[in-house]
């Protein structure tokens, strides 16, 4: 083992960090949209769609991300070929973003639903009693409180997704791990590459954790204090 190689590999690998982060950001963005829609379907128990949402969440929770990745990578071109869209030459990044987005969507949906159900019933009643309609009640009263409650779980889920992105290389994406594999092929120093990758992942996770805990404090600055100052 050669420690100096780690120093040598570090800049080479970190220059691909933006691909990893791009996958993460795309996944979280797609996941948020899907998550909110699915959560609303589950909360309002929209007939028909509710069962579909249940199956979707159960499937995403019930299968490894690696299998989901392969299913999308091999399945989506087949599916789109039926409507005569050819994606066989598309960038594998696209498939990765869709897979991780779908996966995030399922976990976000459950997190949002849990948080909305966690808001006290009196809040809804109070909103109605001052004459708000259902949409106002949801947007102004319930969702802001639910988001604060959902935030820690949301943060955990995002960090989990970051770690999952390390598997994207299996379908040939050139992210950090993908670049690491080409480095291994050219230098034959696999251990050093993986040590470097671990250090980078650990650093990113620590940064994310710090960032999330700061935003959590900021979000929760209204929590726990009394609505009316009794002093």
């Amino acid at each position: 083992m050669d420690i100096t190689l780690i120093v040598d590999f570090f800049p080479k690998l970190i220059s691909y960090l933006h691909i990893t982060l791009l996958i993460l950001v795309a996944a979280v963005a797609i996941g948020l949209v899907i998550g909110v829609v699915i959560a609303l379907i589950r909360i309002y128990k929209v007939p028909g769609f509710n069962q579909l949402a249940l199956i979707y969440i159960s499937f995403m929770r019930g299968t490894p991300i690696l299998i989901q990745l392969f299913l999308i990578y091999f399945g989506l071109p087949t599916l789109l070929a039926l409507v005569h869209i050819d994606v066989s030459r598309a960038n594998p990044l696209l498939f990765v973003a869709i897979t991780y987005g779908l996966s995030c969507g399922a976990s976000f949906a459950e997190i949002i639903r849990g948080a909305v159900n966690g808001v006290e019933k009196g809040q809804t009643e109070a909103a109605y009693s001052i004459g708000m309609n259902e949409k106002q009640m949801m947007v102004r009263i319930i969702l802001p409180q639910a988001l604060v409650m959902a935030f820690p779980n949301f943060a955990n889920s995002v960090i989990g997704s970051l770690k999952d992105t390390s598997l994207a290389f299996t379908i040939g994406v050139m992210d950090m791990v993908g670049r690491g594999n080409t480095l291994i092929a050219s230098s034959l120093h696999a251990l050093e590459v993986y040590i470097t990758l671990s250090i980078i992942y650990y650093g990113v996770v620590i940064c994310l954790e710090k960032g999330f805990s700061l935003s959590e404090k900021k979000l929760q600055r209204f929590e726990g204090s009394l609505a009316v100052d009794t002093k």
Partner: protein, 236 residues
Amino acid sequence: MQIDIPFIFTALTEIFKALPLTMIITLVPLMIGFLIGIGITLIRIRKVKGIYRLANFYVSFLRGTPALMHIMLIYLGLPLLIDKMAETFHWSIQSTSIPILLFVLMALSLTAGAYMSEIIRAGILAVDQGQLEAAESIGMTGFQAMRRIVFPQAIAISLPNLCNIFIGFLHTSSIAFIVSQKELTGAANIVASNNLKFLEAYIAAALIYWGLTIISEKVTALLEKRVTVYNRGGVA
């Protein structure tokens, strides 16, 4: 390309044969991880000097890096270490004679240990302080109180989390295919490339994982009813 539905069933029976290996890669690390987890938790709760920081770093580092990294670090690093040791101490073992499975199990045990310690810690801290005081007031030693009073309740509280970590590790075991283990995903990969029917093989694998997850959720729900019997309140 069309989907060959009958082939999914063929693949299903073929891939299903790999279930024992997936179960080994899931359960062995969880069991070893449970022991590591208890050790780490005790170190962290009692704040044992010196190793306390090390335990914190262990948990934080393994929770902060992907499981793929742990497998690769152990799989690539440990053989170097073993060969070096064998050379210095004139042992007659060679790293090449050690099956890869053993490295995977070791790596995932370390991963499991870190996640388990967080679950066990949360469980122990959730047990009411009064329980410990009551145990001591009737003359139990610290060890007795821990083993007979705190621990059983902590496990009951942790059950949903333990189920989650089981499902998590069932899915993590799929990474072992990257170091050419023939567990469910590895078997699916072989069936897929032998027959050039990738989608069908992975659908079959997905169905097996999905079924296993649903079964373990149901079993947990039943277990939870049993272990929380003491906590139901009211008159029996």
